[in-house]
């Protein structure tokens, strides 16, 4: 390390043992020093998703919050290059000016923590790989990352990918880094694919308590060529007055009777194509035989925001599970959940958000066993204060764990970054 680097190394660290590098080279210097000294560190941005994953015991924190700002945005090329810790609000505002968006529909995890919006940085979204309601139609976060720059656990600055959608030059490390919870690379710059925003959005709601019908409708929707871009089911259960009151308050819209259970479908496009799609769906789903209502664009947009803010579970003190299953297992899972849990279903029957009351980790063990048998997986997104960690946060089998250890070793051999965040030993 040069004298200049040593000087910097001192300057960046505050009294809470947190480093604040201002650029990629400084990140690299710090990590090289940590590598030499065998010291682990927790990578942090603005901390909006730090509650997800296992608690980390580390010697220091490495805040990447100063690596912020848009590097290059070319709307005609459908990509935006940004410093990795740019806040999502800044990115969304910039895209909005050109009627573009991040199509994977970022989830606002601020609501479940504090009851209000707190989206955090793009690096956080990439680290978690949790996409919103449009996922089943357009793909996840990992499907929208085109390239990155970052620093590996040895302090080397590395890059992968580029700015073009078609690129098979070398291993696709962008995918690998997405969803790695900061255990492989300290991201410094990312390139994301952006897409035109749809002009309008309408939402059809179907009011039913019949679970078999709900799953049959999900099946028909996913088999339809009408390009539905959102399909959720919000059940009334359990018979908990405060929950029901809360649900009705959240989904209070002029044209929506939020009492009882309902399924909501989003159709996006221009006015004529929305009308055409609704006509086609009316036949395909036999909507005339069902109790339905329609949310216009002024209600449809905020409705889906509330879904993607996880507002039903705002400020929860309970355990919150994110469960993904093959959609064909929907009837079975809904039957098992019965009316014992607060939950709702997204991604046209694939994604379940389930709240499990505190002191019930045994229930989580049971649910996880069931989900694994169904060929799905379960992540404990938020744990209750009294959670005993009897069941692990993530789902992994032995062979995949072994491969993951090898991958970790290749990026971060001394386990400098976020040790234990995902699995023990990683």
């Amino acid at each position: 390390m040069s004298i200049e680097e040593k000087k910097n190394f001192q300057i960046f660290q505050d009294s809470n043992k947190t480093y604040y590098p201002e650029n990629e080279v400084q990140v690299s210097s710090i990590v090289k020093e940590l590598y030499q000294k065998n010291l682990s560190t927790e990578l942090i941005g603005t901390g909006t998703k730090s509650f997800i994953g296992n608690k980390i015991q580390s010697a220091s924190k490495l805040s990447l919050s100063k690596l912020s700002g848009i590097v290059e945005y070319l709307p005609g090329e459908l990509y935006i290059k940004i410093h990795a810790n740019t806040s999502l609000e800044i990115i969304e505002r910039e895209l909005e000016k050109n009627n573009q968006e991040l199509a994977f529909e970022p989830i606002d995890f601020g609501f479940i923590e504090t009851g209000k919006s707190n989206k955090g940085t793009i690096a956080g979204y990439i680290s978690c790989n949790f996409a919103g309601s449009r996922r089943f139609k357009v793909g996840s976060v990992r499907d929208h990352i085109l390239g990155f720059r970052g620093v590996n656990g040895k302090g080397d600055i590395i890059k992968s990918g580029g700015t073009v959608v078609k690129n098979v030059t070398g291993y696709d490390l962008s995918k690998l880094v997405t969803g790695s919870f900061g255990t492989l690379v300290a991201l410094t710059e990312v390139v994301l694919k952006v897409l035109p925003k749809k002009k309008l959005s309408n939402t059809i709601t179907i009011h039913t308590e019949d679970k078999k019908l709900v799953n049959a409708l999900f099946e028909k929707i996913s088999s339809s060529s009408s390009e539905i871009s959102g399909a959720v089911y919000i059940p009334e259960e359990p018979q908990d007055e405060s929950y029901i009151f809360n649900k009705e308050m959240i989904f209070k819209f002029n044209d929506l009777n939020s009492k009882g259970s309902f399924l909501a479908l989003r159709i996006e496009g221009d006015k004529i194509s929305i009308k055409e799609r609704i006509n086609a769906l009316t036949d395909e789903l036999e909507l005339n035989k069902l109790k339905t209502s329609m949310l216009d664009v002024h209600q449809s947009v905020p409705f889906w925001k509330k879904i993607n803010n996880l507002e039903l579970f705002a400020e929860t003190r309970n355990n919150l599970l994110r469960v993904v299953i093959p959609p064909s297992k929907g009837n079975e899972l809904m039957q098992k959940l019965g009316n014992k849990y607060k939950y709702y279903i997204d991604w046209c029957g694939s994604l379940y958000w389930i709240e499990v009351q505190s002191k019930k980790s045994m229930k989580i063990v049971e649910i996880k066993k069931l989900i694994k048998e169904m060929g799905g997986y379960l992540t404990i997104i938020k744990t209750s204060p009294d959670y005993d960690f009897e069941e692990t946060i993530f789902t992994v089998d032995d062979i995949r764990l072994l491969i993951s250890e090898k991958i970790k070793e290749s990026f971060d051999p001394k386990r400098i970054f976020n040790p234990g965040k995902m699995y023990r030993g990683i």
């Binding site: 499907d143 959608v165 690129n167 696709d172 093959p326 089998d397 990026f411």
Partner: protein, 498 residues
């Protein structure tokens, strides 16, 4: 083509060829182990036919357990293995090695399950890309990635190369269209990644395997996502008097918020070549031809076609035709699909390049290629997947003339360097293989390549699976002055040395 440097031949392996053959014949049905010259000759090359090499022995396992046993044996005995799908790859990724077992997945040719409920097909890797669509089209479903070789290329090969096609902008490439894979690691470990769910938790191993060109594992099963066919598909065929105007129109279409299902560009040389070949009725006076395909609902497609027409008129198009029916739409594509054979008819040989560039740099790239064509005195025709920035210049030459061959390679290499300089990449969909191995240094520095090599050695510590592909071989890279050895420190300790 020119002499290719491959990993150092392991003489000990060659010497024990009989022993290897006998043992492999014990592991699997002896009929599926080939070593007679006539039997193994068909495997000596893939679609990059300029490079040929006879493998040590060819094995054709019939199930995952057999693949595992073969790899376990080779791992123990330090024998290299080259996996092979349908052999349609254009970059030499399945080129055999003299001292390696060639593992053909040709017998993995069954579709295992069609699951309409979960919108997926579970298939063995040897089934063709088009075979997947054929299996589900009776219910109006299809598999989205459509590489031009879809009639013959296998789905396992598609995973290895992360194949795309003309619809990649809207529908993505292979990595965006598969849900799970089963693969066997070099030490014989069988691993299942993903399944029938959307996404997987933990490290995205499927994302890593997709496009890894057979270096990290052998794919033995694929779960592919299927989509419902769009309600309406229509296309526009537009001619432009200049490259700039056509290029600008393509960029403006995207900037206006239109995401075409497919958008293709052909230059004047290719318009003429294809029209001569297939009589597609293309506007021969145009300098540039644009095909735009849109899908969705009837009025949505009509509305978008009007917008596309307006943009093209604004950009001074010289001709504009909209497809009135399915027959006409397919006729628009007929010439484009005949691009490669048309070039084949114009010269004894052609060399197809595969770079990607930002859409807005098309005019600049084509101009540069035109200048290079003059410099090397070799004709070139260009087609461009304008939707996703993938450029395919086709250099026409006579392979019998050694000097022309040398010039062709140099020309190709300069084109790819131009792509990188313009902000693009050296391969959009054909893969690096052996063909573009040395050009990796144009895009990546030592640290970038070292990280990739570290991943390779973490999963295949003996470097036995498809060695000599994708990553530059030290000697050549150093010769070209791209690797700088600092005070005797080697930057690529994991690379084979010779």
């Amino acid at each position: 083509m020119s002499e290719l440097v491959l990993p150092k031949i392991d003489k000990a392996t060659i010497d024990k060829k009989e022993y290897i053959f006998k043992n492999l014949a014990k592991i699997i049905n002896p009929e599926n182990v080939l070593n007679h010259e006539d039997e193994i000759k068909p495997y000596e090359t893939d679609a990059l036919a300029a490079y040929k090499q006879t493998p040590l022995v060819v094995v054709m396992p019939e199930n995952t357990q057999e693949v595992s046993s073969i790899l376990k044996f080779c791992h123990k005995e330090n024998i290299k293995v080259v996996p092979r799908g349908a052999g349609t790859g254009l970059s030499g990724g399945a080129l055999p090695l003299q001292d390696a077992v060639l593992l053909s997945l040709g017998k993995f040719n069954k579709i295992l399950e069609i699951d309409f409920e979960n919108k997926c097909v579970v298939t063995q890797p040897g089934v063709t890309n088009l075979g997947l669509t054929h299996a589900v089209q009776h219910k109006n479903f299809y598999y989205a990635p459509d590489p031009s070789s879809q009639l013959a290329c296998s789905i396992g090969g598609n995973v290895a190369e992360n194949s795309g096609g003309v619809h990649s902008l809207k529908y993505g490439t292979t990595t965006n269209n598969i849900l799970g894979v089963e693969m066997v690691m070099m030490d014989g470990t069988i691993c299942r990644i993903g399944g029938k769910t959307l996404d997987q938790e933990g490290y995205d191993l499927m994302g890593l395997i997709c496009g890894s060109e057979g270096l990290l594992g052998v794919i033995t099963e694929v779960t592919a996502k299927i989509l419902k066919k769009p309600q309406v598909v229509k296309a526009a065929l537009i001619g432009f008097p200049t490259i700039e105007e056509g290029g600008n129109a393509a960029t403006e279409i995207i900037s206006n918020g239109i995401v075409p299902a497919g958008m293709e560009i052909m230059d004047k040389a290719l318009i003429e070549a294809t029209d001569n070949f297939s009589n597609a009725g293309y506007p021969r006076d145009a300098e540039l031809l644009l095909i735009v395909e849109l899908d969705g609902t009837e009025s949505e497609v009509d509305g978008l076609l009007k917008e596309v027409s307006d943009i093209c008129k604004k950009n001074n198009c010289s001709s504009l035709k909209l497809s009135n029916n399915e027959k006409e739409r397919l006729s628009f594509w007929a010439g484009r699909k005949a691009a490669f054979p048309a070039c084949g008819a114009m010269a004894p040989d052609y060399y197809c390049m595969d770079g990607s560039i930002p859409r807005g740099k098309l005019a600049e790239a084509l101009l540069e290629i035109k200048n290079l064509s003059k410099k090397y005195d070799l004709p070139v025709a260009n087609c461009f997947h304008a939707g996703d920035g993938n450029l395919h210049p086709l250099i026409m030459y006579d392979g019998g003339d050694k000097e022309q061959l040398r010039k062709t390679e140099e020309f190709g290499s300069e084109i790819l360097k131009t792509c990188v300089r313009l902000g693009g990449v050296i391969t959009g969909e054909h893969g690096v293989g052996v063909e573009k191995r040395e050009l990796m240094c144009e895009m990546f520095n030592d640290n970038d390549i070292q990280q990739q090599l570290d991943i390779k050695s973490s999963l295949d510590e003996k470097n036995l699976l498809n060695p000599g592909k994708v990553y530059p071989i030290l000697r050549k890279c150093a010769e070209e002055g791209r690797v700088h050895v600092h005070r005797g420190e080697e930057k690529f300790p994991n690379l084979p040395r010779f």
